[in-house]
């Protein structure tokens, strides 16, 4: 570590809020930790690891929520409003790490902090107001039961930005979070979501309805490097436009992915019971943006793309509905996966879900499971409290979503998520449920022939994606020359390597779609903070984070059994372009190759040697258990 580190980029301060005692304190972050973990997800997971009491229930007040940003957050780096929430995962009981774009991360820094740690539990609903290095816990009883949009509106008005957005950000939970729906999300900046692992339910369990950030603090930049830093950012912004992502997401949003994915059999249809439907032309990105909706750009902080849009539906049964433009996963999840083939309907459902505050991936595979069960007579209208959950019935789905968010009737059972619900319903339900074995639904794909996506989520320790899907392409940065076209050992090796790189990127925190070359990103970071990283060092940081995530889960009792998938995910598609393909026959080989590449034993546990080599010696006592 260079003696001058860190010379810029970090505010170096943590705000700790204890909701049980009402005590608010400020702490300094150890610069050695900053050097080892950079920031964001890495730093967040490290702080969480240190402060977690093993074996607790996710809703135990002793649990922490660690919100962290990186040194580049709030700078001119593309998508620098991103932040990372790290806490216990309500679905798996293990770790979760959820990131969201928008503005919140940048404004947390302008308010004065790199890290926010929330602990304890308030008896009454409260919200947290952080302004220029001052924080206060405020009464939120007027916000109880309100949706995320109304919550945002109420708080903005209170702090002087009525019906407008300039310097204030709000991250809030909806009714789902308050009612401890296990897959409740945190919504920030009206439509940006930290979705994975029930982060919203954890907030709800602490009685925390919202966090407001507002401030005028500057991100420190060493004056000697200010021009070089800007030059590197310019290069980053240029490069981001010229990548595959820049040319696709940058121009058409992620909805532009839909048809390509569908053509390969990678988009889920009706709970993975088929891969075919008619009317696919309505799922063309241009059609959705220009014909099915009126759209206005509403980008995240420092976005150089025209990705996110605010939209209004212009045709179909929900003409007039407004909201954020759906992303690929929502389009697939609230569309064909529920037998709904009208893009405008997905917008209506997306806005409702944003307001209630739930994770779309768990929700889509939950409702699709119930729709399949209803069709096959596994459950009747009576058991569903009078709701006929037919394929394609958006009103029925919407009503079920509302009941889940209130934990009302059958909604109370479904609020437990796909795995728990299917186990409780019993019968044939476990056989049709779509989840990975740690206990969460995967991202909204039909991943059964998309090896990179499936394997990545099966082994991920956070309940989301940890690595990069190279099923269809390689990577120059990582010297991955050919795609992982088959479910073989190569897939396992690539998954390990790409996880290290991806997790390094999650320590930086920026919009993942606006990735530049590794060299440019590392150079930008070095110029700002005075670090001396190169690609090899960056991969070592990523590997440190991946190993620490795994050790968090090993400490919680995770076994090899958790690195697997539900029965449905192992079955081959019955039709369409991916018909007959499955990872199941070779899965164990892929898994062992992944473990080996990671320097883990055959049970998926890191070895002492690798932990020591990665400065994770403090986790070794866990192995002795």
């Amino acid at each position: 570590m260079n003696k001058k580190f860190p010379k810029g980029g970090y505010l170096g301060k943590t705000l700790r809020v204890d909701l049980s005692t009402g005590k608010i304190t400020e702490e300094t972050i150890d610069s050695k930790l900053l050097y080892q973990y950079v920031g964001g997800t890495g730093l967040g997971v490290r702080l969480l690891y240190d402060e977690t009491v093993p074996g607790l229930d996710p809703y135990d007040p002793q649990n922490r929520i660690v919100i962290a940003v990186g040194p580049l957050t709030g700078t001119l780096v593309p998508g620098s409003g991103t932040y990372s929430i790290n806490c216990r995962n309500t679905l798996t009981g293990l770790l979760t790490s959820a990131q969201a774009n928008g503005f919140f991360g940048a404004r947390l820094r302008y308010a004065g902090y790199d890290v926010l740690i929330i602990q304890g539990k308030s008896e009454k609903p409260v919200y947290l107001y952080i302004n220029d290095g001052q924080a206060a816990i405020e009464d939120a009883s007027k916000l109880a039961g309100k949706g995320t949009f109304a919550t945002d509106q109420w708080l903005r008005k209170k702090y002087g930005e009525a019906d407008m957005d300039h310097h204030i950000s709000v991250a809030a939970i909806g009714p789902a979070g308050e009612n401890l729906v296990r897959f409740a999300c945190v919504m920030n900046d009206r439509g940006h979501v930290a979705a994975t692992g029930g982060v919203g339910a954890i907030m709800g369990s602490k009685g925390l309805k919202a966090i407001v950030v507002h401030g005028n603090q500057a991100i420190p930049v060493d004056p000697a490097d200010s021009e070089a830093f800007l030059e590197n950012i310019r290069q980053w912004r240029d490069e981001a436009h010229n990548t595959g992502m820049g040319k696709s997401v940058g121009k058409k949003g992620t909805i532009g992915f839909y048809l390509n994915a569908h053509k390969k059999g990678w988009a889920p249809v009706k709970n993975l019971t088929t891969n075919m439907f008619s009317g696919t032309e309505k799922f063309d990105g241009d059609y959705i943006r220009k014909k099915a909706h009126k759209s206005l750009p509403r980008s995240c902080y420092q976005c150089t793309f025209t990705h996110c849009h605010a939209v209004q539906v212009t045709r179909g049964p929900y003409k007039g509905a407004v909201g954020e433009e759906v992303e690929y996963e929502i389009l697939a999840g609230f569309g064909p996966n529920w037998g709904i083939y009208d893009p405008g309907t997905t917008t209506m459902l997306n806005t409702l879900n944003d307001d209630l505050g739930m994770d779309a991936k768990e929700l889509t595979f939950l409702i699709s499971m119930m729709m399949e069960g209803y069709e096959k007579g596994m459950i009747g209208k009576k058991e569903l409290d009078g709701i006929a959950l037919k394929w394609g019935d958006a009103e029925a789905a919407a009503e079920m979503m509302r009941r889940i968010s209130r934990r009302e009737g059958i909604g109370d059972l479904l609020a437990e998520g796909v795995k728990r619900s299917s186990d409780k319903l019993g019968g044939e339900f476990p056989g049709i449920a779509v989840y990975v074995k740690k206990g969460n639904a995967p991202h909204v794909h039909d991943p059964r022939s998309r090896w990179g996506t499936l394997f990545n989520q099966v082994v991920a320790d956070t309940g989301s994606q940890e690595a990069v899907d190279y099923t269809a392409r390689g990577s120059e940065d990582l010297a991955i020359e050919k795609p992982t076209a088959e479910p073989d050992e190569y897939l396992g090796e690539v998954n390990a390597k790409s996880a290290w790189w991806r997790q390094f990127q999650e320590c930086l925190l920026y919009c993942y779609y606006q990735t530049a070359s590794g060299e440019t990103m590392i150079k930008t970071l070095n110029t700002l903070t005075g670090s001396d990283y190169d690609m090899e060092h960056a991969l070592r940081i990523g590997k440190r984070v991946v190993n620490l995530m795994r050790m968090f889960n090993v400490r919680e009792g995770m076994t090899k059994e958790h690195d697997s998938f539900s029965q449905r995910l192992g079955t081959p598609p019955v039709d369409g372009p991916a018909q007959g393909k499955s990872i199941a026959p070779t899965f164990e080989r892929v898994l062992q190759a992944y473990y080996k590449m990671s320097n883990w034993d055959q049970e998926g546990v890191p070895t002492r040697e690798i932990l020591e080599a990665l400065d994770l010696g403090f986790t070794i006592p866990v192995l002795g258990k």
């Binding site: 001119l76 407008m164 902080y301 976005c303 150089t304």
Partner: protein, 173 residues
């Protein structure tokens, strides 16, 4: 024709790159609150979608700030930009120019107790360079004369109100 900023809010994506680029260029701070340009999203718009609004000094050909300054501290440059600049040495911090600007583009510094504004970064505006959407471009354009209708827009009213309040508060501090 003078070379100035042409701003078309309808093209804005709302990324606020202009604000941060401005603050960094002029104050060497990654801190949007120090910006001389404002990018605001109005959440309840006419569509009824949210819409973006971007505003900074228009370098008015009939600049009211320049006319109202009691000590002639505000003048127009003679170079190709024909921009309106504040001479810090001459400025007495009376704040009259802040009140005179219908666009809310004249700002008041609490530290220096002087007026300041967008001066096109000396002829190479950082906001236009960093704007990814084409909403802000630096180009030869007809001299700008304010129309009454412009000044009634919600965004301008909001900015000028805010600046007047800030100036009042900062003068006292």
């Amino acid at each position: 024709m003078p070379k100035q900023l042409k701003i078309v809010s309808q093209k804005c994506t709302g990324c606020r790159s202009c604000e941060l680029a401005c603050a960094y260029a002029n104050e060497r701070e990654m801190n949007p609150s120090k910006s001389r340009i404002a990018a605001i999203a109005f959440l309840e718009g006419t569509y009824p979608l949210p819409y973006n609004f971007v505003s900074t000094c228009r370098q008015c050909a009939d600049a009211p700030c320049l006319a109202v300054c009691p000590v002639d501290a505000i003048e127009r440059t003679t170079d190709r930009t024909k921009r309106v600049v504040v001479d810090e040495d001459r400025c007495i911090g009376c704040g009259q120019c802040v009140g005179a600007c219908p666009f809310g583009a004249m700002l008041f510094s609490g530290e220096a107790k002087k007026a300041f504004k967008c001066e096109l970064c000396g002829g190479n505006p950082a906001c236009a360079e960093m704007c990814p959407s084409g909403a802000i471009v630096f180009k030869e354009t007809r001299p700008f004369y304010a129309k009454a209708a412009d000044c009634e827009m919600k965004g301008f009213a909001l900015l000028s109100q805010r600046n007047k309040e800030n100036a009042k508060r900062r003068k006292k501090r």
